[in-house]
Symmetry: C2
Subunit: 107 residues, 2 copies
């Protein structure tokens, strides 16, 4: 496993009126700390159209790099504030397959 890219899909559940507050906390945690960690490749933050979820989709070089970052206390103040009003469901994944649209239509 450790030689493969790790994909993280972390789903936060939140009251719609606090969705943007959660977004801002996750943006600050990522910009000030997480994206500078060794092994971080990229991430994309999403907000659900119904207001009830915020999901971070991220790639890391390895599970070991991700777990080392989790031991860094710098992003904790943001995350602890988020956990006072949002539920968190983490997921560590590997990619199985990628699908494209029909190429005939554009070639």
């Amino acid at each position: 496993m450790s030689s493969k890219v790790l994909t993280l899909i972390n789903v936060f559940t939140v009251a719609p009126e606090r969705q943007m507050e959660l977004v801002h906390l996750l943006v600050r945690a990522t910009n000030e700390s997480v994206r500078h960690a060794p092994g971080f490749i990229s991430s994309t933050l999403h907000r659900s159209l119904d207001g009830t979820k915020v999901t971070m989709y991220a790639q890391w070089r390895s599970r070991e790099d991700y777990e080392a970052m989790r031991k860094n206390p710098a992003p904790l103040p943001y995350l602890e504030r988020a956990f006072t009003f949002a539920k968190f469901e983490p997921g560590l994944y590997e990619v199985v397959e990628t699908f494209s649209a029909d190429k005939e239509l554009i070639s």
Copy 2:
């Protein structure tokens, strides 16, 4: 909303011993039907390292295109079989922000 790309993050929960069976059903549904639908851009299928989840991350041109595909009965046999042993939590999202690693390290 309709002018923005729609991101779908669909999380399936499953018993680890049936995770790969669920993966195969979702691969077939996507290859035989979903990826040929108008407005489908791309998708990536993931399996969780702990065996308990399978997550499809997909981009669609618009919410209208995605909803039109959902009315197509072709992928239903695969999905109905999946729903006999997996739980399904759909999510319709828009991207808030994308983060990259520090560029100084590689430039």
